[in-house]
Assembly symmetry: C2
Homo-oligomer: 413 residues x 2
């Protein structure tokens, strides 16, 4: 590995990114393989070297990064002329926990440490919302960030809703601590989906059209949709009575997508880890009763989706489940290390670097996956990058597909 | 096994119940062990024999059971003088799918067939709500049954809520089919908990007292609470700031209890099925990220509960998870068969019979477990029985504890 780092010295940024990210990936990778060590950190001296390269401000002999230094120069995103300064400021202030507008080396180091924690994504999201660094989130802080998301622009969230009243109190005076915030972020997403349904249910008769269903899912639940599911949204909804999607169907569809990891467990449990075994709906229903949170309607939706994606044989295998919900990011994190070892030629190495870059973006970007798509996804951290590469890919694809694919694609572009 | 059935002939009812139930238990047991056969049904001739013993009405040469015959004489519940005729009628009409007030042999047989289906509990619940047998559930039907539950009496459900508007439409004209009903039943329970929180949050500041939290959980979520959790509700809530339970904490607590099977999977996955391995909060948090629906706050609640129940070591083992959420009913269904084999003496046999009886009640009673406590639990199918036995046990205990314990207890009484 040392040789690889030296070889890449000509590309300073990539080299440093790689160092930082390699440590990060290696840390996570070693968690996977050994299961004991979680916080193997980057070498402080190497980290300081990286920091100093980008820290453009000096005050009383101490160097600082501006949000611009970190986001545009160090991360290398939002490089275009017409970038949104507010977005860059918000992203930079995730690290700036003192909220003085500048990122000190200690803050940079602390952020690197956060990345080693199992709840890194939630902590990062919390720091994004806690704009005054008080350690709690007020209603105003919550509203400010949500209003900046593209998600809110597409389907406005009702800030006067009972949901937010329950969290912040009727006078909006209650403040939310970190642990509570993680739950709020989790439940917020369900609430937003319900609000979207209400918005499209214009006649208030408890159903929406197949096209509106498609629009809601693409807008609000994009992070949960694989390409195969996206292509079959209208077909799935069209299979319902009168091409109308009822509220229970809508709920079942969303709950199923949220619970696909559980669904996979149920499948593997039933087939005793035989991923090729074909399972009928009745068999799956029986297996699901062992973990009774999966309803018969969710099982219906599952088999219906699998039927549209695959041939409609009335049976599913593990492959169908993977098409509906590809690997989650954390599973991916253990791969690059193994793959890196085999890398020899400069061309292959550049793929390796891009994998690591992707992981980094992923760390910031995948909050969407863990905690609801609202947070970083709409801020377009990844989207911008993808659009610059003109691959025409959807964000969702990057969010949940193997980043290795992504690196290969960008290489071709 | 045949010997056992003959021996018990002196107690007709028990013998017949046993026959029916043995078939049922055996069926489920064989599912567990062989995984291919799900619908091994009772012998029709034996079933007819049982039916005829209790069918008190004869019309045009055909015999019928009244709801009273089935519930009070055959099941042997609601035997006391001051029983509620409405409850008996509702329970009996689960079988009476033609809704003519009488149970034909075909209906009796159909019900026995339903018990073999993996979604038996949902189907039974649907037949309970579909009081006119139309195959769909109207708002009025839904309201009628819910209003008869003790749950509604304790914490009235708001029938004008947005939740029901979304399901039945603003004019309450939309009808719910079976699949949709399973989702409604599932989500209804969450909605009821939220409504309960709103009711106790009198100042509308987004929090309730530890005592109110205790009351809500005992009323609405009793079916999810083990004795150990019940004993520690106030302590758990008291550990929160100002002895107030915030809405996110309330949601996390309920979500955690709903997802305990998933939590067990996460634990076993992480420890590679080593049930004795002590796992720290950080380790669990890491493992939970693999199935990212578990939030850090839920993990906090989990370790807090385990700390109160067990000693607060900051670590959990599988035993702690079992104390929080004992085995679910479907897991139990595979046991009696193995246990029955070893039964020799009449005293032991009577325990066996009671196990089978329990399973039968369980089938009707455990809808609560699978689909929300609202349906049969409040109708007191099991509660009455337990009270008659003067064991002083909670319903929740029977609902989720090993029925074998229950049989042993009633034997002592």
């Amino acid at each position: 590995m040392a040789a690889l780092i030296t070889d890449a010295a000509s590309d300073e940024k990539a080299g440093m990114l790689k160092q930082l990210l390699f440590d990060y990936v290696f840390t996570r990778a070693s968690c996977q393989f050994e299961g004991t060590q979680y916080t193997r950190r980057a070498d402080p001296e190497k980290l300081k070297e990286i920091f100093d390269k980008y820290a453009s401000v000096e005050q009383n002999g101490e160097r600082f990064m501006t949000p611009d230094d970190f986001v545009r120069n160090y991360l290398g995103i939002y490089k275009s002329e017409n970038y949104n300064p507010k977005t860059v400021y918000l992203l930079g202030s995730i690290l700036d926990t003192s909220k003085d507008g500048l990122i000190s080396f200690m803050e940079f180091q602390a952020f690197e440490a956060v990345l080693c924690r199992p709840d890194a994504l939630y902590i990062t999201a919390f720091q994004l919302f806690d704009t005054n660094g008080s350690g709690t989130i007020t209603f105003d802080e919550f509203e400010e960030i949500i209003k900046h998301t593209t998600l809110h622009n597409e389907i406005p969230f009702n800030f006067a809703s009972e949901f937010l009243r329950l969290h912040f109190g009727k006078d909006k005076q209650r403040e939310i601590n970190y642990a509570e915030f993680t739950q709020l972020l989790h439940d917020f997403h369900e609430e937003h989906a319900i609000q979207a349904f209400q918005k499209y249910d214009k006649n208030k008769n408890g159903s929406i059209s197949a096209m509106d269903f498609n629009n809601i899912m693409i807008s609000v639940k994009s992070h949960l949709l694989s390409e195969d599911v996206k292509r079959n949204l209208v077909a799935a909804a069209g299979g319902t009575a009168g091409h109308q999607v009822s509220f229970p169907y809508f709920m079942a569809f969303n709950t199923l997508l949220n619970n696909m990891e559980l669904v996979k467990k149920v499948y593997l449990n039933f087939t005793k880890n035989n991923a090729g075994l074909e399972v009928t709906k009745e068999e799956f229903l029986y297996a699901a009763q062992q973990m009774s949170q999966i309803t018969p309607l969710e099982v219906d939706v599952l088999f219906q989706l699998a039927g549209f994606i695959h041939a409609d044989t009335g049976r599913i295998t593990y492959d169908d489940l993977e098409l509906i919900a590809p690997h989650r990011p954390t599973k991916f994190l253990s791969r690059p290390f193994a793959e890196m070892k085999a890398v020899k030629s400069p061309a292959e190495r550049s793929i390796g670097i891009q994998i690591l870059e992707s992981v980094y973006r992923f760390t910031l970007g995948s909050i969407a996956g863990a905690a609801g798509a609202t947070v970083v996804y709409p801020i377009d951290l990844v989207k911008t990058r993808m659009q610059n590469q003109r691959t025409g890919s959807y964000i969702g694809e990057l969010m949940y597909r193997n980043s290795f694919d992504c690196a290969k694609k960008s290489n071709k572009a």
